[in-house]
């Protein structure tokens, strides 16, 4: 290696030598960044559980298969909800979203499949700034399912719908032979109206925006994991956080807060939502580890099982990207409501490196937070 004869400690020396040291590694990192920007392709011949985890594999399946074949201007946006124009109407659009629920077990502390089905779909409308008008519910029932169980689930849906002030207005039922469905699957579709042009949109996200999380992460996934009984863990205080968030989102928007974007964090956890945001908006998201709200029991479960709470599913939490000046007010408003008592500003949006989410650790270091790979906790939602 040649030595450069320059003033030691000068900017030129640092640059030159750093460049020599950095080159090979930096080239590799840049190459990786380029490749990650490319459109994903589906390589597998068969569907695996990873495709349902909400992480990278799910994302690839949706974009490379469904998105590819069914492509159209509305679908291509891959939002939480689709916004349809009404012929002859300029200022209002129809928001539509759908979600399937296959959680096992059906009942768990804090909720059940019915409650998830109602709240989950309402939330997907709410985060787009839409007012939910009604929900449909389609049931696939396994032959042999206890009617008492079905009754319990539907009663729970009734209560959730009443709490949210949104009715189940239509539905469907199918029965399949024993063994062809695990007791009960529910698909709910939600319809709402949203003012146009849409106030919240991915395109509105800009560097400098603050990232606010509406409460503690990982409650739902951990609860279901323990309820399944596969692991010898007990956590008495742990319960699912399933909850309808349209009251919270409406309050934020009605208050005039400049909310640029919102998304609810379900399968794949908060990490996955942040990665989706970073990639779709072409920005970087920097998170402060110390400000991430996590309940002690979730932390305990996560430590014991070796999982990061950032990847554990939620069912009553949203991530809001808010204009910097409005962040304090947004936080205050969230915390004043039952849906957001533990809300926290967890980070900010930056210009670069594009598409990347990273975390400042309590340790003074930085590390990347990638999208979920694989499926640590299957059939959580």
């Amino acid at each position: 290696m040649t030595d450069t004869v320059v003033q030691p400690g000068s900017g030129a020396a640092i640059k030159a030598a750093s460049a020599r040291i950095a080159d090979p590694e930096q080239r590799v990192l840049e190459r990786i960044a380029e490749i990650r920007k490319r459109k994903p392709s589906l390589r597998e011949d068969a569907i695996t559980m990873s495709h349902g985890a909400g992480g990278k594999a799910s994302h690839t399946l949706v974009t490379a298969l469904f998105g590819d074949i069914l492509s159209n201007p509305v679908l291509d946006q891959l939002g939480d909800q689709a916004v349809l124009a009404v012929p002859g109407v300029d200022n209002v659009g129809i928001a539509m979203t759908t979600d399937s629920f296959v959680v096992s077990p059906l009942f768990f502390p804090g909720g059940d499949i019915g409650e998830l089905a109602v709240n989950g779909t309402i939330n997907d409308l709410a985060v787009g700034g839409a007012t939910p008008l009604g929900i449909s519910a389609a049931f696939i029932l396994e032959e042999g399912l206890d009617v008492a169980t079905l009754r319990r689930v539907v009663e729970s849906m009734r209560r959730a719908a009443d709490r949210a002030g949104v009715n189940v207005v239509t539905g469907d039922t199918k029965v399949v032979p024993r063994g062809k469905a695990d007791q009960l699957f529910i698909t709910t579709t939600g319809v709402g109206i949203v003012a146009l042009p849409q106030r919240v949109a991915i395109s509105r996200i800009v560097p400098g925006d603050m990232v606010i999380l509406s409460g503690a992460m990982g409650d739902h996934g951990s609860t279901v994991m323990l309820a399944r009984g596969d692991v010898d863990l007990e956590a008495d205080l742990l319960r699912s956080d399933t909850m309808a968030l349209h009251g919270l989102t409406a309050a934020l928007l009605d208050d005039g807060i400049d909310v640029h974007f919102m998304r609810d964090a379900t399968r794949g956890g908060v990490a996955t939502v942040l990665n989706e945001i970073a990639q779709s908006a072409g920005v970087a998201v920097a998170i402060d580890e110390a400000s991430l709200p996590v309940h002690d029991e979730v932390r305990g479960v996560a430590e014991i099982l070796g999982i990061d709470p950032l990847y554990i599913a939620n069912e009553g939490k949203l991530v809001a990207i808010v204009a910097k000046e409005h962040a304090p007010r947004a936080l205050e408003l969230m915390r004043s409501r039952p849906e957001g008592t533990e809300a926290a500003v967890i980070g900010e949006v930056m210009g670069e490196p594009e598409g990347m989410v990273f975390i400042h650790t309590g340790f003074g270091g930085t590390r990347v937070v990638d999208m979920l790979i694989g499926d640590p906790l299957p059939r959580i939602c």
């Binding site: 003033q7 030691p8 400690g9 692991v231 010898d232 863990l233 007990e234 956590a235 008495d236 205080l237 742990l238 002690d296 029991e297 979730v298 932390r299 305990g300 479960v301 430590e303 014991i304 070796g306």
Partner: protein, 108 residues
């Protein structure tokens, strides 16, 4: 899968002390405790190292405190060290700079 974490032993669940319950952040787990003998014999309330559902050893509070004490002694030294580093660097710069000037007849 070398994941092993310290957790508090809450109680033994059988008379032979083959199984116990540990607690971490309010979460309880049933684990096998048959390796906790001899130097690793543990009483409820103390901590053990848990790995894939088994307690491998007892965590010694006294040893942990001692290790931390040694680490903490480095604390006050930090600022002194940094100060020294700066002084060494300043000295070295001067020397190298001086050499450079001498060899090249130019000023820094």
């Amino acid at each position: 899968m070398c994941l092993a974490i310290p957790a508090r032993l809450v109680e033994y669940v059988d008379a032979d002390r083959m199984y116990g319950k540990v607690e971490l952040g309010g979460v309880h787990r049933r684990i096998n405790t048959s390796l906790l003998v001899g130097e690793d014999a543990t009483e409820p309330g103390e901590y053990v190292l848990v790995h894939v559902g088994f307690a491998l050893s007892r965590v010694s509070e006294t040893e942990a405190a001692e290790t931390l004490r040694i680490l903490e002694e480095m604390g006050p030294a930090y600022h002194d060290e940094v100060q020294q580093i700066r002084e060494w660097q300043a000295m070295e710069e001067e020397l190298v700079g001086a050499n450079y000037r001498d060899n090249n007849g130019t000023s820094a």
